[in-house]
Structure formats: structure tokens, C-alpha cells
């Protein structure tokens, strides 16, 4: 009897893991929202949001101590302002997760910028990898 129950427990464990694999909980644990989701969902302006996407190539620049760039998920875009220095390896074309509040002009006033890199690893073609060039 005990064995049968244990077997049933194992079965349910496997089954529920299968449910998770099939995507049942995919939207549940989300570290950041995408720019598309940011624009499509009604937002509570009193709350900070965490938005993640690719830094659009050519958009990263620093003006008088304020870092500006545009995050994109391929469809929607959101402009980001950040007064501070980024400690990670922020470069164009790689990902970033930005936490802050939406300003009245639709741009995100960032409180923190965290770099999210891809799972791809390639040897350098240019003599200096971005790690040595680092953020502007």
C-alpha cells in the first residue's frame, strides 16, 4: 500500500513538472516585462516596473551625465533615461533589464540598469572585446 502511494506521489510530481514544462506556469515567474507588454497593459504609475529588451544599436549615448538608450523586443520600443553609471557590460545589441518609473513623456526614468547577456559565446573577431571598451 505504501509503495502504491509513493508511486502515485512520484507520478503526480512528474505530471506537475510536465504541466510546468508545457507552459502552464510560464507567465507566472517573470523577472521583467517586455516593451510590448509595457505598452499593452494598463500600468499603475505609482509602481516601478522592470522592463527588459535589447539595447537598440545606435541609440546608446551619454548627454551631460544622463545615459540614454532605447530598449526593444523586436516590436515595441521604450526609451530609457538613467542618471548614473552602469556597472555591468552595457553594449548595443545586447540585453538590459531596467527598473524605474514611466515618465509623463513615455520614457522610463531608470533607477537601476542591469545587463542581461545572451547564452551565446563566440571568440572575438575585433581585437578588443566590448568588456575592455565598456559602457560610454
Amino acid at each position: 500500500m505504501k509503495r502504491v502511494r509513493l508511486a502515485a506521489a512520484v507520478l503526480v510530481v512528474v505530471g506537475s513538472l510536465g504541466y510546468v514544462v508545457a507552459g502552464g506556469l510560464r507567465e507566472a515567474v517573470v523577472y521583467y516585462v517586455t516593451p510590448t507588454e509595457l505598452q499593452s497593459r494598463p500600468l499603475d504609475p505609482r509602481r516601478p516596473v522592470r522592463v527588459g529588451g535589447q539595447v537598440v544599436p545606435g541609440s546608446l549615448r551619454r548627454e551631460g551625465g544622463v545615459l540614454r538608450f532605447v530598449l526593444s523586443d523586436g516590436q515595441a520600443q521604450v526609451a530609457v533615461r538613467f542618471a548614473g553609471s552602469v556597472e555591468g557590460l552595457l553594449v548595443e545589441g545586447q540585453g538590459a533589464v531596467v527598473e524605474g518609473r514611466l515618465g509623463p513623456d513615455g520614457a522610463l526614468d531608470a533607477r537601476s540598469v542591469v545587463v542581461k547577456h545572451s547564452e551565446e559565446y563566440t571568440p572575438p573577431r575585433s581585437p578588443l572585446p566590448p568588456a575592455e571598451r565598456s559602457a560610454p
Binding site: 555591468g88 557590460l89 540598469v113 542591469v114 545587463v115 563566440t122 572575438p124
Partner: protein
């Protein structure tokens, strides 16, 4: 047999270290930081392996009540705590320069921390139980329970949207250039060999201590 296994593991570890620190090129994006990959990923895989051994041996102990399974289960739980702790530490030392933060509250990081805590709890339960037999039984139960977290840790980056990047090597393909693949493979092998040697030695020590 034993000197051979230890010698082979030491050789593998030194070759792995050489490949990781001298042979591997820097990454086109991360630069030299990519070398942390060769200790972080093998440590995580060794933690999974130790957790699996702990779970299997504990289940067998609960079923058969053979002390030898308990020795292996205890070794597995200790090494699972050790290697998951190492994974967390090297991950933090990697995250700070590359992501810009030591820690982030994302699913991969939190589930790994939970794994570490569960095995610490497993070891504490064994040491603090009134009598050794009860300690063995209870920690075996916790070890079985804790293993449930391993698939969640591994697939958290696939199932959930996390800051941590997805797997570089999966059924969908290898996103790792061959220059990085070889050191990673050798280091993974070396860590698994190290895990095997440490498991065997720890279990042997436990049996010696009981005999005494």
C-alpha cells in the same frame, strides 16, 4: 584503484585549469570574464549530480535500511551543499562585473539558493537528531524532498523569464563556439570525476567511523 582514480582526477583538473586559463580565447562580448564559465557550470552540474546521488541513495536506504546506502546518501547531501554553494559564489563573482549586480531576484538564482538551504537543512537534521538512526531516516526524507528542486533549478531559465540567460547547450543546439566547448567539456568531466572521488572517499570515511 584508488590512487589511479585520484591521480586521473587531479590530471583532469589540471588540464581543465590549463585549458580554461590559457587556451580558451576571451569571448567577443564578455572578454576574459567568460573563463568563470568553466568553474560555474561544472560546479552546477556537480551539484545536480550530488543531489541525484543523495536522492537515489536515500530512497534506497529508506527502502532497504542498508547502512551503506546511508553513507552514500550523506556524502551526496554534503557535496550537493558544497557544490551548490560554490555555484552561488562563482555566479555572484560573475554577475557583479557582467550584469552589474551581485544578486538578482530571478527564478534561477532563488531556486539555486533554495537548493543550497535545503541541503544545509538536511545535514543539520542528521547532526541534531536525538539518535543516529532517526537522523539517518529524517535526513534521507529531506534529501528525497530536496531533489524535487533540481529540475526546477535547471529549467527555470527555460520555463520562466529570468535575468539569467538560457542554456547554452540544449537539444535546440549548441550556442557555444568550439573554442569554448572543449574547455567546458574537459572541466565538466573533471568536476564530475572530482565529485565521484569525493563521494567514494566520504562514504568510506563514514563506514570507517561507524566500524570504530
Amino acid at each position: 584503484m584508488r590512487p589511479f582514480a585520484v591521480g586521473a582526477t587531479a590530471a583532469l583538473l589540471s588540464v581543465g585549469l590549463f585549458l580554461a586559463l590559457w587556451v580558451s580565447p576571451p569571448d567577443s562580448y564578455q572578454g576574459e570574464y567568460v573563463r568563470i564559465l568553466y568553474v560555474h557550470v561544472p560546479a552546477a552540474l556537480a551539484a545536480y549530480g550530488a543531489a541525484a546521488v543523495a536522492c537515489g541513495a536515500s530512497a534506497l536506504y529508506l527502502w532497504r535500511r542498508d547502512l551503506r546506502w546511508d553513507f552514500v546518501g550523506r556524502a551526496g547531501a554534503e557535496l550537493a551543499a558544497l557544490f551548490s554553494g560554490l555555484t552561488l559564489l562563482t555566479g555572484m563573482l560573475w554577475g557583479k562585473p557582467v550584469w552589474g549586480v551581485w544578486w538578482a531576484w530571478d527564478a534561477r538564482l532563488v531556486t539555486t539558493a533554495v537548493l543550497f538551504l535545503l541541503y544545509v537543512g538536511c545535514l543539520l537534521v542528521r547532526d541534531l537528531a536525538d539518535d543516529p538512526e532517526r537522523g539517518r531516516r529524517l535526513s534521507a526524507a529531506v534529501a528525497v524532498l530536496a531533489f524535487l528542486d533540481v529540475p526546477v533549478v535547471h529549467y527555470s531559465v527555460v520555463w520562466f523569464r529570468t535575468l539569467h540567460q538560457g542554456p547554452s547547450i540544449s537539444l535546440q543546439g549548441v550556442k557555444l563556439a568550439p573554442e569554448f566547448l572543449l574547455p567546458l567539456a574537459v572541466n565538466t568531466l573533471a568536476y564530475l570525476a572530482l565529485l565521484g572521488v569525493l563521494l567514494a572517499e566520504r562514504a568510506r570515511l563514514a563506514s570507517l567511523e561507524v566500524e570504530r
